[in-house]
């Protein structure tokens, strides 16, 4: 198949018009050695059947979550995804839709985003949400930048137990801006807020905290917002969206900005993306929101319609002073989350959250009773994820699990050298009692 659809006759005409004989004559300015090295040596073409076989044999090397019993978490979770979601988002009306450049022509896309924003506000108990961002990590970074712009201050206080990968993205985003990051201390697997008052001065734009945190522990956030607000600082909370169905919401906790990784809401784990960056805030910060916002209005005939609103925040109008240099969104993934939340409804989501909670606590209880394992943060409440201390390096248990179809968990040694005998284990509603009991039988062998 030719990707440049010129026939040899057209090519000849083109070359004649330029005044050269062969295509290679156009490359004479490039030293010959470089051209030689540029030659791509490709294998012979394959038939469709051969390509199919080759790709399948490559794909078969993967251990996909569908074929494994997964206890992996750390920001990406193996939740059940109703078939309706993939069916609907694969419809061509939606599947090809990027955030459109002529947005109001695509009323269906805009309506879907509007519904998404409304659902996010209900879920997180916030006033206003944008049309979504790339993922939870960039949403957190954008929230930090928002708080800096809104307060005209230059420092953010950061919990040490925000997802370690999110923190890397945060540091990358803030690197080129003159924003200082100061970490709070830790206390038994949670943020040490004892130091908060001493650190609050008129340079602090916001506190960034995640709950449940990277270790699965639920942070004690009651009263934190008031302490920050007394210093005109903002509270940014990153949450697991499923947990928001049963835990105190960011809104209830007084958050000024709520962010979340939306993968749990009907989006496959894939290989780490595309995911969904959720960002919502209060009415008073609406003009500091990054990204696109869809609003509902009426046309000249009084008919309902959807439009992009508050575009003066964005790059095409405000140029370098835009609230963000990201103007795209995760339209398709936002649609998946919208369908997921619509299918489950308020009670369905609550049931999913309760199942996750109960399954995780059932497994934690079983592990605690094992002789050679322990739970280092036993006294701290958790949602669906917890840390386990292992008798041998966690990596060895993880490797052994692969052949028994277990994705055992996250090796915390990857994040701190002294955590090499620590596993981060997540349990979702998908895990059955049988699977959990089998997992215990597997663990007991070490």
């Amino acid at each position: 198949m030719h990707y440049i659809p010129n026939t040899s006759v057209i090519e000849k005409d083109l070359l004649n018009a330029i005044g050269v004989e062969r295509f290679e004559d156009l490359l004479t300015d490039i030293p010959e050695d470089y051209i030689k090295n540029c030659r791509i040596v490709l294998p012979e073409p394959l038939s469709e059947l051969e390509v199919w076989q080759k790709l399948h044999s490559l794909a078969a090397k993967n251990s996909a979550a569908e074929t494994m019993i997964s206890f992996l978490g750390g920001g990406s979770y193996d939740h059940f995804i109703p078939a309706a979601i993939d069916f609907l988002i694969n419809r061509s009306e939606f599947y090809t839709a990027y955030t459109p450049y002529q947005p109001e022509v695509s009323q269906g896309t805009l309506q879907a985003i509007y519904e998404y924003q409304s659902l996010v506000c209900q879920l997180l108990d916030m006033d206003v949400a944008n049309a979504s961002l790339y993922d939870g990590a960039t949403a957190l970074a954008e929230a930090a930048i928002m708080s800096i712009n809104a307060t005209k201050r230059n420092k953010v206080l950061v919990s040490p137990f925000i997802n370690a990968n999110f923190l890397k993205v945060l540091q990358t985003y803030l690197l080129a801006r003159e924003i200082k990051i100061e970490f709070l201390g830790e206390n038994n697997g949670r943020t040490d807020f004892g130091q908060l008052s001493a650190k609050l001065d008129n340079s602090v734009a916001a506190l960034l905290v995640q709950s449940p945190n990277f270790l699965g522990n639920i942070e004690e956030l009651n009263g934190i917002a008031a302490r920050l607000h007394a210093n005109q600082s903002l509270l940014v909370i990153s949450v697991n969206p499923i947990s928001a169905a049963i835990l105190k919401t960011p809104g209830e906790l007084g958050a000024d900005i709520a962010v979340s990784e939306g993968q749990s809401l009907g989006i496959h784990q894939f290989f780490g993306g595309p995911y969904l960056g959720i960002l919502a805030t209060t009415r008073s910060l609406i003009r500091n929101l990054p990204g696109r916002i869809v609003g509902q209005t009426v046309d000249v005939d009084g008919k309902r319609g959807y439009v992009l609103v508050l575009q003066t925040r964005e790059q095409h109008i405000r140029r370098e002073k835009a609230t963000s240099n990201i103007c795209t969104n995760q339209g398709l993934m936002a649609l998946a989350a919208t369908i997921y939340l619509s299918l489950l409804g308020k009670n369905g989501l609550k049931q999913v959250a309760e199942l996750c909670l109960n399954n995780a606590h059932y497994l934690a209880g079983k592990i605690e009773s094992l002789k050679h394992y322990s739970l280092p943060y036993q006294s701290v409440p958790f949602f669906n994820e917890f840390v386990v201390e292992t008798p041998i390096p966690a990596r060895e248990i993880i490797n052994a699990g692969l052949s028994e179809h277990f994705l055992v968990g996250v090796d915390l040694g990857e994040f701190r050298p002294d955590w090499g005998q620590r596993l981060l284990i997540a349990v979702t509603e998908k895990r059955t009692r049988q699977e959990i009991d089998d997992f215990i039988k597997f663990l007991i062998k070490f």
């Binding site: 005209k152 003009r287 003066t312 109008i317 405000r318 002073k321």
Partner: protein
């Protein structure tokens, strides 16, 4: 286009009403006509320092955003809070109810660098 006699002007289309060491700042009738309907004003904070020629806030019209440049240096001592809910006051009365901020001069000599009404009128081609 109205260019009141009692005011001084900047080439960025702000006006300044100088009364001893207190300077009231707004944007001119010409600027308002260029921007169209104003929907939002980002005001400076009282107590902040203004530096001549640097932005002290922004004005959002329906399809554009413009910075408000301070005509003088000094401390922001008052801002027009009414604009928070009624940005259109700038459209209705740019030299009166649409004032933006009051600045306590830190360098009185700077006022001599502002344009007088005749020169401002020349600038806007009238």
């Amino acid at each position: 286009m109205s260019v009141p006699e009692n005011l001084k002007y900047t080439k960025d289309h702000e006006w300044a009403l100088i009364s001893a060491d207190l300077v009231t700042v707004g944007i001119t009738d010409y600027a308002v006509k260029e921007l169209g309907d104003i929907v939002y004003v980002e005001l400076p904070s009282v107590g902040n320092t203004a530096i001549k020629g640097n932005p002290i806030g922004t004005i959002e019209a329906v399809k554009t955003v413009a910075d408000i440049y301070s005509p003088v240096s000094g401390e922001i001592v008052e801002v027009n809070q009414a604009l928070t809910d009624q940005a259109e006051l700038i459209n209705q009365d740019p030299y009166g109810a649409g004032w933006i901020a009051k600045i306590k001069l830190s360098n009185a000599a700077e006022t001599a660098e502002l344009l007088n009404p005749v020169n401002y009128q020349k600038l806007i081609g009238q």
